[in-house]
Amino acid sequence: MSTERLEVRKTFKLLINGAFPRSESGRTYEVTAASGTFLANVAQASRKDVRDAVVAARAAQASWWSQSAYHRGQVIYRLAEMAESRRDELAEHVALSEGLRARASQLSVARAIDRVVWYAGWSDKIAQVFGGANPVAGPYFNFSLPVPSGVVGVIADQDSSLEAFVDAVCAPIAAGNAVVVLASEQRPTPAVLLGEMTATSDVPSGVLNILTGRTGELAPTLCAHEDVDGVDLSGVNEAFADELALLAAGSIKRVLRPGRGDASLARLRAFLETSTVWHTIGQ
C-alpha cells in the first residue's frame, strides 16, 4: 500500500441551525494567513444566510432559555471540554491568522477556553447577581428577574480571532439568548473551528449560528433585521457602528457600542431584560 495519500482539503463552512452548510449563494472567499500566504477557502455568506440564521436562532431561543440555568452552564462547560481536546488545532489557526508565535497562540487559546469555563459558571449565577427581591408597601413579594433579550446579532472583533469571539458569543448564550455572529472577515477560521466543537457539546441547534463573509455586506442586513432583539457592535469601529446603530434603530433593539464589551459583568448584562414579578405572600 502506498504511503502517499491525497490531501483532504477543507472548505470552512457556515454554522446554521446545527448544520454546516456552504453559503446559500454558493460563494467562497480566500483567507490568507497574517504572513500573506493562502490559509483556507471560507464560505461567503449572503443576506439570505443571515435570514436563515435568524430564523434558526428565533426557533431555538425559547427552549434554550427554558432549560435550567445549571444545565445551560453544563452545556457551555462541555464546549470548553471539546475545545480543550482540540487546543493544538485552534492554536495553529490562531497563530496563522494573527501572526503569533506558537507560545503566544497557545496562551491565547488557553485564555479563550478559560473564558468559556468562566461564562459557563456564570450561567446559574446571573439571576442572583442581576436579579433581586424588592421591598414593596404591601403583602407581596416583588422580584426583579433577569431574562434574555432573545436573538442577539454579534459583529465579532476583526483582530482577535478567538478570545474576543468567545467573549462576544458566550456571554449572551450564557444569559439564555440565541446568537447569530459574523466572524472576523479576514481571520474567521478559529471561530469556525469553535463552531464545529459546539456540534459535539450539546449546544442545541440554532443557539449559536456562525456566518463568515464580508462584514460590510452582512452587518447592515443583520442589524436592520426586525426579528433581532439586540446587536453587539463592540468589535466594530466607531464610524461603522454609528451607521449600524442607525439601522438597528428601525426596530427596538439593544445595542452594545464599541468599547463597552470587555470581559466583564457589563457584557453579561448587555442582553438581559428585567422582568418584574409580583407574588402574594402566603400564610
Partner: protein, 333 residues
C-alpha cells in the same frame, strides 16, 4: 352510468395528448364503466423522471423586484385560507374571516384572499361574518378527509354545506374505490355531487399522497374533470404526503390537455405543506409554464393553506421596507 350520451367519443393514441374529444365546449358523455376505463387506460403514462426534472428546473426560476411583488400579491389573492381542525370554534373562524378580508391590517392595498375553507358546520358562521364581500366560503364535504361513508351520508354532508351558504364545495374522492379499480363508482359519486352543487363550484380532492403514482394522478384528474369538476385539488392536508411540485405539474398538464380537447377550463388547487412564499412562487412559475398565464387567476389556481399567508405578507413587507421583518408582525390564525 348516469349521464346520457350526446356526442361520440374518440380515442387518439398516436400522440401524447392521449384523449381526443370533440371540441364543443361541453362535457363529453360517458355511457359505461367500460368506456371510462378505456378512456383512462388510453392516457399515456407519465414520465416520472421527466416530470420531476422539469419541476426541479422550473423551481430554480427566480422572480425579482416588481415581478416578485406582483407575484406575491397574486399568490395572496389565490389563497384559500383554511382551518380544518377538530378544535375550530366560531371565534377562530371569525378571526380567520377578518384576516381573509384584510390580510395585512396596516396595508389596505393588499388583496383579499380567494376564500376561507372550513368544515360544513362552520359555513353559516363564516358566511355571516364575510357578508357581501368577494371572499368565498368553501366547505369540505363528503366525509372529509377519508371519504369513507355511504353515498347518502356524503350527499347529506354536501346538502348541509350548500344550505348553510357555501359558495364552493371541496369533496374527496373514494381513494379505496379508485385504487381497487372501481372507476365507475368514483365517477358516479362526483357526477352526483356536481348535480347537487349546480352552479356552486366543485373542487375534487384527489389525495395524491394516497394515489402513489403519477399515472394514477393523471387518471384521477381526467376522471374528475370528465365527471364535471370545476377544480381538481391535490390533497386534504391530512396525510403525510401532500402537494408536490411534480404532482402539480402532472395535474396542470391534464387540465391543459382537457381544455384543448373540450374547451372547458378546469382549475387546480394545491393544498398541504405549502408554507413559504418561495414555494408558492415556484407553483406560480409551474402554472405559467404548463397551463399558461390564463390560469394565473383565482379562478384558475388556488393555494389551500393557513401559515402560507403570513409568509407571503412577510416577504411582501420585506420588499417594501428593505429589512427582514418579524413573524409576529402579523396575526396568527
Amino acid at each position: 352510468m348516469s349521464r346520457v350520451s350526446t356526442a361520440p367519443l374518440r380515442l387518439v393514441t398516436r400522440d401524447d395528448r392521449a384523449v381526443q374529444l370533440p371540441s364543443n365546449s361541453s362535457l363529453p358523455s360517458i355511457e359505461s364503466e367500460a368506456q371510462l376505463r378505456g378512456l383512462l387506460g388510453a392516457l399515456s403514462g407519465v414520465d416520472a423522471v421527466g416530470a420531476e426534472a422539469r419541476a426541479a428546473k422550473l423551481a430554480t426560476r427566480s422572480l425579482k423586484k416588481s415581478t416578485k411583488l406582483a407575484a406575491l400579491d397574486l399568490a395572496i389573492s389565490m389563497v384559500d385560507l383554511t382551518t380544518l381542525e377538530g378544535a375550530d370554534t366560531p371565534g377562530r373562524v371569525t378571526s380567520l374571516c377578518a384576516k381573509a378580508l384584510h390580510p395585512d391590517a396596516n396595508a389596505p392595498e393588499v388583496p383579499s384572499v380567494a376564500a376561507v375553507c372550513v368544515y360544513p358546520d362552520l359555513v353559516a358562521h363564516a358566511r355571516t361574518v364575510l357578508g357581501a364581500s368577494t371572499v368565498k366560503v368553501a366547505a369540505v364535504a363528503t366525509a372529509f378527509p377519508s371519504g369513507r361513508a355511504s353515498m347518502a351520508v356524503k350527499v347529506l354532508d354536501v346538502k348541509e354545506a350548500l344550505d348553510a351558504g357555501a359558495d364552493e364545495i371541496d369533496m374527496v374522492i373514494d381513494r379505496g374505490a379508485f385504487l381497487a379499480g372501481r372507476y365507475g363508482q368514483v365517477f358516479d359519486e362526483v357526477v352526483a355531487i356536481k348535480e347537487l352543487c349546480g352552479a356552486t363550484h366543485l373542487k375534487v380532492i384527489l389525495e395524491v399522497g394516497e394515489l402513489k403514482t403519477y399515472d394514477n394522478v393523471r387518471r384521477a384528474s381526467w376522471l374528475a374533470m370528465l365527471a364535471g369538476a370545476d377544480f381538481i385539488k391535490t390533497s386534504t392536508g391530512k396525510v403525510g404526503v401532500s402537494a408536490t411540485l411534480p404532482t402539480a405539474l402532472v395535474m396542470l398538464e391534464s387540465v391543459r390537455d382537457f381544455a384543448e380537447a373540450t374547451g372547458l377550463r378546469v382549475g387546480v388547487k394545491v393544498a398541504g405543506g405549502i408554507r413559504s412564499a418561495k414555494d408558492a412562487l415556484r407553483y406560480l412559475v409551474v402554472v405559467n409554464e404548463t397551463a399558461g398565464s390564463s390560469w394565473l387567476t383565482p379562478d384558475g389556481f388556488r393555494f389551500g393553506a393557513s401559515s402560507l399567508l403570513n409568509d407571503l405578507l412577510m416577504q411582501r413587507l420585506k420588499q417594501h421596507r428593505g429589512a427582514y421583518v418579524r413573524p409576529d408582525e402579523f396575526s396568527g390564525d
